[in-house]
Symmetry: C2
Subunit: 791 residues, 2 copies
């Protein structure tokens, strides 16, 4: 700003040979393979076989899409600074008030929708199960099978058709995509209104169909969708243009509110408010601060209050077949136990086996998902058929397997009624004579929630026969693997809990003679260990289980089991969410840099990228159009030539003015904010033309803008639109430390400045983006780094 005497007449060509060696650096995602000749090898020691290629393509709902990064950096250009300075106290209060209101609304709506989903599922599944009981009682076994399979087929069809045709992103749990979003990866169509609706209806359909999947993952996605829609003022095409909402038109505030949404979702799924907050903290969120902790907590508190109110209402019988329930889903608070030294052994065994099984599950599920990807890529029909085949297989197994079990006599010592023919209940009569119950029907011919409740039930050590639990465990192992990848909204929590509780109870029967821990407790611990073995969470799982089981005295052994299972699991493979992230190709930035990243500098990384494209502070329109059309970069450094440096003898220096976004260049072209002559503009001139709400828009494409030939010869003063405070690293910085900066501060672009200072040195060496810092991409360009030892 000090120098108005800029030498503006030197539009740089994209690759001027004199700056080749040091300016070799590219910018943004989707670089094509460039001419390798332009990368003169500065250090012959480093064997590079090709340039750094970035693939910003990811699998979004079984469809390959182009994805962009989010920008959590504050774009401090003149317009932002002015708007920011002119914000009054009242506006700041409006902003704070709105933030809290949104957190409240997110909690409220998530609570309401979760209740709605629960009500729908319990009623649909309930009436279905009652009808089956009718068929069985009349001995019409075949008709029952046809009815059961048919209903489930129809429900799965609804869910799958919705997912396949209207919102492919609604399939699966959605948690990996949310995790990626909070890491800075903007997966397209993840948080739209269609996705939300399909997710709600599809989740109801899929869970009522008795498929081996839960509503937990989808609820997290639903919470995040609600948060995103509220923050942007409605669905994309019908947004409310409310003045207040403009404050939320940035990636940072949306990130915060989506974090609230995801923890509300977990809270609604497990009715675990503290667990929800911790889940968001430990598993989902990348950045975190105390203020966010507090707001998230507020959202989950609202969810809990909403859920409680509905449970009160439903307890009075006004919700159809919706059973009774409190805040706790699988209450084992009546188990009294004292720890003994001997009890440590089964706890360790459960932990180890849980870790082994969990990592095995991750491994096999990975293979299955790869296979399913191949099938799903073949087209919509294949996806539908796959989902329906799984549905038929599930229904047939659930209906037919109980016939294998022997009828068991009701023990008068049971506190619950035995046998029952209700939709729920721990002792289903099924095909047995009066006074007898079918233990396998209790586990299979019921909703998944009830199955968990039954297998968690305490003081019922003789209820289930070993063979029944073996069949149950085996079936759910198979179903847990084949169901997850189909094109319906599906959560991972419940399948893993079902498997885990089965194996836990089996272990409990095996260890019966050694300890006096209750078998229900074994089931709970088994479920916890498998969760930890597969998902690798500890603190949040511990709190969720605490809130689920309502028994604080369980805490120490739960902690031990979780820690052991996670440790064992980590020896074999990463967590299931990381596996899915990798499968989908989402460019997730890990918390810790790889060790070999210390042996590489960002300068070397810039060398293998195409040269950086810079613009002058006052640039010709034709050059801007040319650059926008011929590159796919999303940001360009602004460099002023021939600047007089105050206080030095340097007569003609170059100045790094900042970084301009592609979106802002397009805006300037679209607004035709052209100058007939090369000059700097005043701040008010810019403010008249642009406001920062427009500058927050990203959608505009260069193809939508028409520039006449005459306009091509005019100029644009880019200074006011430039972010003057981009984060930078010196070219000698190691990639490891650059990555720490990139992730900790939440950047989209990181400028590389030279370590040299002198005439003729370019002020920018390159730009790093998320793709450039991913280990996979770097290793493709520097394969020798992957070797365990360098020196």
């Amino acid at each position: 700003m000090e120098s108005d005497s800029n030498n503006l007449g030197k539009p740089e060509t994209p690759s001027n040979s004199e700056a080749e060696a040091h300016e070799g650096g590219g910018e943004e995602e989707e670089e094509e393979e460039r001419d390798p000749e332009s990368n003169s090898l500065r250090q012959p020691l480093l064997k590079r076989n090709r340039t750094l290629s970035s693939t910003p393509l990811a699998l979004v709902g079984a469809k390959v899409s182009h994805i962009e990064s989010l920008d959590y950096e504050i774009n401090e250009n003149d317009i932002f600074k002015h708007d920011w300075r002119s914000r009054s106290k009242v506006q700041v209060l409006q902003y704070v008030f709105l933030k809290w209101s949104l957190a409240f609304l997110v909690g409220l709506l998530t609570g309401l929708i979760a209740t709605l989903i629960n009500l729908a599922i319990e009623n649909i599944a309930g009436y279905k199960l009652l009808a089956i009981v009718g068929f069985i009682e009349e001995g019409r076994y075949i008709s029952g099978l046809i009815f059961f399979t048919g209903i489930n087929f129809f429900l799965t069809l609804v869910a799958a058709v919705l997912c396949v045709c209207f919102a492919p992103t609604a399939a699966g749990p959605g948690i990996p995509e949310i995790k990626a979003y909070l890491n800075g990866v903007d997966t397209p169509n993840m948080f739209g209104a269609t996705t939300l609706l399909v997710k709600i209806v599809g989740s109801i359909g899929a869970v009522s169909a008795g498929l081996d999947l839960g509503k937990e993952g989808p609820l997290v996605h639903i919470g995040s969708c609600i948060a995103s829609l509220l923050a942007q003022g409605g669905p994309d095409n019908h947004r409310i243009k409310w003045r207040w909402l403009r404050y939320f038109n940035n990636d940072r505030d949306r990130r915060d509110i989506i974090t609230c949404g995801s923890s509300s979702g977990v809270c609604a799924a497990f009715r675990a408010p503290v667990g929800g907050v911790l889940f968001a903290l430990e598993e989902v969120a990348t950045w975190w601060r105390s203020a966010l902790l507090w707001r998230t907590f507020f959202s989950t508190a609202v969810v809990v209050v909403v859920l409680r109110e509905f449970i009160e209402i439903c307890n009075s019988g006004r919700c159809g077949l919706f059973g009774s329930g409190g805040l706790i889903m699988f209450d084992v608070s009546d188990v009294k136990f004292s720890y003994q030294a001997m009890d440590v052994i089964p706890v360790i065994i459960i932990g180890i086996i849980g870790g082994l099984l969990g990592s095995l599950y991750n491994h096999v599920l990975h293979k299955v998902l790869r296979l399913y990807n191949l099938i799903n890529h073949k087209g919509k029909m294949h996806k539908l058929l796959l989902a329906l085949a799984v549905s038929i297989f599930t229904s047939v197994c659930q209906y037919c397997l109980p016939f294998l079990a022997q009828c068991r006599a009701c023990d008068p010592s049971f506190t619950e009624t035995c046998p029952t023919n209700d939709r729920s209940g721990n002792f289903k009569r099924f095909n047995c004579p009066d006074g007898y119950y079918n233990d396998l029907a209790t586990l299979l011919l019921t909703t998944n929630d009830d199955a968990v409740r039954n297998i968690f039930s305490t003081n019922t050590s003789s209820e289930f026969h070993v063979s029944s639990i073996l069949i149950f465990f085996g079936l759910y192992c198979i179903l847990g693997l084949v169901t997850f990848g189909i094109a319906v909204p599906s959560g991972l929590f419940l399948p893993i809990i079902l498997m885990g509780s089965g194996y836990g109870r089996l272990l409990g029967i095996a260890m019966q003679s050694y300890t006096n821990l209750d078998q229900g407790l074994y089931a709970v611990l088994g479920a916890a260990s498998l969760m930890a073995g597969s998902m690798r969470m500890t603190v949040s799982l511990c709190v969720i289980f605490l809130e689920l089981t309502n028994n604080l005295l369980l805490l120490p052994i739960t902690m031990m089991v979780l820690l052991i299972a996670k440790t064992v699991g980590d020896c074999f493979n990463p967590s299931i969410y990381e596996i899915i992230l990798e499968l989908k190709g989402l460019p997730f930035l890990d918390a810790n840099p790889e060790p070999w990243m210390r042996n590489l500098t960002v300068g070397e990384l810039a060398d293998v990228k195409p040269p950086v494209v810079t613009l002058c502070g006052v640039e010709k329109v034709s050059r801007i159009v040319d650059v926008l059309k011929n590159t796919t970069h999303h940001a360009f450094p602004i460099v002023d030539q021939g600047v007089v440096v105050p206080g030095t003898i340097a007569a003609s220096a170059t100045e790094l003015h900042g970084l301009i976004l592609r979106a802002h260049l397009v805006q300037a072209l679209k607004k035709k904010w052209f100058l007939p002559e090369k000059r700097r503009t005043e701040e008010w001139e810019v403010r008249e033309k642009f406001n920062w709400v427009e500058l927050a828009e990203r959608e505009l494409k260069i193809e939508q803008v028409a520039v006449t030939r005459k306009e091509m010869e005019m100029y644009i003063d880019l200074h006011p639109l430039t972010n003057t405070t981009p984060y930078t690293v010196v070219e000698s910085m190691s990639v490891a430390k650059a990555m720490v900066l990139f992730r900790q501060v939440g950047l989209r672009h990181l400028l590389i400045v030279p370590k040299y200072q002198g005439a003729g040195v370019a002020p920018v060496v390159g730009i790093l983006t998320r793709q450039d810092l991913r280990a996979y991409n770097i290793l493709a360009a520097f394969p020798h780094l992957a070797r365990p030892k360098l020196s």
Copy 2:
């Protein structure tokens, strides 16, 4: 490394006039007020009245000390890189194993010491109270008073003498200092062996003396001390020189292990493992990652197991007067209640009053602490007298006030024995006839833990008379204010819980006719609200209360109360820990930059600092000695002159090679690693002389090193000792964004590089440190920024 043709013959003078305008920047803490003339005003718009002064002095244990910053950045110099590259797989495994072993040991030792403290306190206080009961029964009231006051006086004397004479840093809770440590402020003598011992003994003395303070804060400090001592291999003068421990000789690993220690301390204090982890996360720690969450959780799990084991042992009566107890301290799990719409009103009222009272308490305590600082500064005798005066006042009040209460008849509906003459018990007979009890004695003449247990007791709505609770509340308000600042180890949790439970129970009596919530529940909620109103924590407090009270159904209303109380409190003043941090002058960096920091660039900040002192890559010994003796900076940029930039026409450029630490310069001088001629050294030459364990040492002073006149003319090659990858910002970066970088990445020094590129431009504009980024210091140099509006 490419250029061996460095022009090494130009030792810069600290303030060469040509670089005045842009090189005006200083480095490290403790800058004296320099000649203001050396700061030429570049931008006359900014009215500066003086230079940026940094005051690294803080009140450490009532003594003003010089404090340093910690360095969480990885110092990537040649020696580190070599050592790091040469680490074998086995060594990496050793490191991981040791990290987990330390986490285990921290948990184990914290658990053991916490048990020891509890045992000692319960027995000392128990025998004291039994003796009093003897005096009372014989009617010897005056002798009882003298005995009671005398014993308490003696116990306080022991605690205070230890604190005053041996470890002033052991006074107070220690939590603010730990919070500052984890933020990067190295308060001296905080984690020594003496401090640990004094804290343990002092805490036993002070709590047994019946003073209104808790063992919670001290336990957090004890946990952190144990962690620090373990990580460094013992007390400062008797360290174990174990090879493995050298891996922990850095600030980053110590930070992690101290985080484990602090959460173990909270866990041991409240027997709340999840609460402990969350407390460390929400209140204490500045940086956090998932891996740390997990290790912290492991430590607290160990603590809980140790505590449980000891409670099992003590339950069999082998611990003297140590009562019975489980993992839950104040169990209210037998309260059954259902929410009604009406119950929302008292919950809101409790929250609001809790917030008001909490902020009022913060305000008054601030005033009291200021007054106490004045008294404490007068000398050790004054400190002692203050502590003893508070002890006598407390004892007299606790003994005499119960005589004011009327004896109340025992109701046969009480489930507990009534009256009792034991050391604990809910219905103390004191001076009453048989069949009657003194409700005020129940609250006052007991340990603080028992007092809380009694006032939390449920289904005892008629136990306490309003006047008794009023007296109790009033007394503990006064004691809570006068006790905290005295020179004994003191925690804040218990005084606030006592006050809060008193006001909660009063409110419960007042609201009796409106709701049917239990009065014990009111006491719990009152305590929670006052904690939130004063300490401003939410999630961790909620979980701690959950774990204390063992009643998960309390969760939603506890959340509401905490959120309301925190919101109300935040309207008036910051949290009590922030107030103490400010009082002590610890340079804590807040999470969020002040709004006006966006209007200031780091270049402007560098302008008001003394010019930066740079060194050449191969520097003359005399200049190094000169610089070390005449500056107090802790790091110096290394700039090579006359470098040939590969690939450009710039024949003679300058190169920013990196940043060298003062400690490393002193090491090089001490090792007499001198070169007779100006030349670059080979890596192996350096490795022979230095290993990175030595380079991690910080204690060596330049005054301890003697250099002969002949050596003064020799050279040192500083390149291998230089951190080649310091974090940098361009001078146009706003202070707000620089502060975000500084805090998020955990830096000690942040280099400012110029935005200009040309001949004669200095490659470094300045260095920012923690002190430069503190709002208070910046506002002293730029007072106009404090005004609400700039434009």
